[in-house]
Amino acid sequence: MASKLTDRLKRILDEDRKVLSPKSERDLRKKLAAVLSQYFPIDKRKLHIRITRTQYQTAYELIADMPIKRSELEKDQ
């Protein structure tokens, strides 16, 4: 199947569409992790952010994947 090719192209397009420099992206990730960790036990190493275009290309949107450590969340509750 063509999923490997699609994934490769997706990575290329995501890279092309980046509106933040690598340094700004690192800073943003660090600050987001600092704020969010006040509310959730998050896995900072796995925090992933990307900026993509919305349909019709009229705006950008920030998508942040932030795994919450389930075991610690249950412990807190």
Binding site: M1, A2, K4, L5, T6, R8, L9, K10, I12, L13, D16, R17, R53, T54, Q55, Y56, Q57, T58
Partner: protein, 265 residues
């Protein structure tokens, strides 16, 4: 008032001029008046694909320079009972020779004469491209199922984003081979639509007879036996009749596993 539509791609050789010639002819065969403008200054080809090269007396550069009149520059296609007209590109001038203000004046005159104005943009994202998209109200980005074409199309979409066209941007996937869509090296139409995130007007099948038709100067839409003719006709109908559905999103994956994978990614 005419609708101004630009066909663009970023990458060259994806079949823009072939599509402009055939979609233009198809719209004209529906008895809607349409003028196609070749903006590939210095690399004139659209006149040959339509088969009107012998009757070209003037071109878009002469027109914008005031060296010829609209009557001299417009070449009507008798096969469509003059519903299709062409304004050819100049073969000896450069893209910078088109004055944007004068080009706007030409388009304003054409708007009162035709139902549709179709602009065939040159490849690339430089001057010729910028002038071609400047006054368009609708843009159609032509893409082939290959990664370089898709990447360039994505770049063009980003440039169109900064333009007044905004929401009237559509995709046409050209030279598509459905039988290869399950091969690992082939990117499928639904994947292209998902990656570029733009509504798709249609998918045109690959057909080597298109080359023969282009060389003969008879647009292939006159050949009713070709599958591609039907693909083009459907697109032309969508352009002139908004009731026809435009594929907004790729069809849903067949298996639950694929659906889960798509949601996760």
């Amino acid at each position: 008032m005419a609708q101004i539509i630009v066909f663009t791609s970023g990458k060259g050789g994806v079949g823009k001029s072939t599509l402009v010639a055939n979609i233009g002819t198809s719209i004209a065969l529906h008895k809607r008046s349409v003028v196609v403008i070749d903006m590939d200054i210095g690399l004139r080809n659209l006149d040959m694909i339509i088969g009107l090269e012998r009757r070209v007396k003037s071109n878009i550069v002469d027109l914008t320079k005031g060296l010829s009149s609209l009557e001299e520059a417009l070449v009507y296609d008798k096969r469509t009972h003059n519903y299709l007209a062409l304004i050819a590109a100049s073969q000896s001038d450069l893209k910078k020779d088109v004055n944007l203000f004068k080009f706007h004046q030409v388009l304003t005159d054409l708007e009162t004469m035709f139902d549709y104005i179709i602009i065939d943009s040159p490849a690339g994202i430089e001057e010729g491209f910028n002038k071609s998209i400047f006054f368009a109200k609708k843009a159609i980005v032509v893409v082939n199922p290959e990664i370089s074409s898709i990447r360039d199309a994505d770049r063009v979409l980003a440039l169109l984003e900064n333009h007044r066209i905004k929401k009237d941007i559509f995709l046409i996937i050209n030279r598509y081979r459905k039988e290869l869509s399950r091969r690992s090296y082939y990117i499928t139409a639904p994947d292209i639509i998902n990656l570029l995130n733009v509504p798709c007007l249609g998918v045109i099948s690959e057909d080597e007879r298109v080359l023969r038709q282009n060389n003969s100067g008879v647009p292939f839409v006159y050949q009713s036996s070709f599958t591609v003719t039907n693909d083009i006709k459907l697109i032309a109908e969508k352009l002139i009749d908004k009731k026809k559905s435009i594929q907004e999103k790729a069809p849903a994956s067949k298996s639950i596993w694929e659906k889960m994978k798509n949601n996760a990614s």
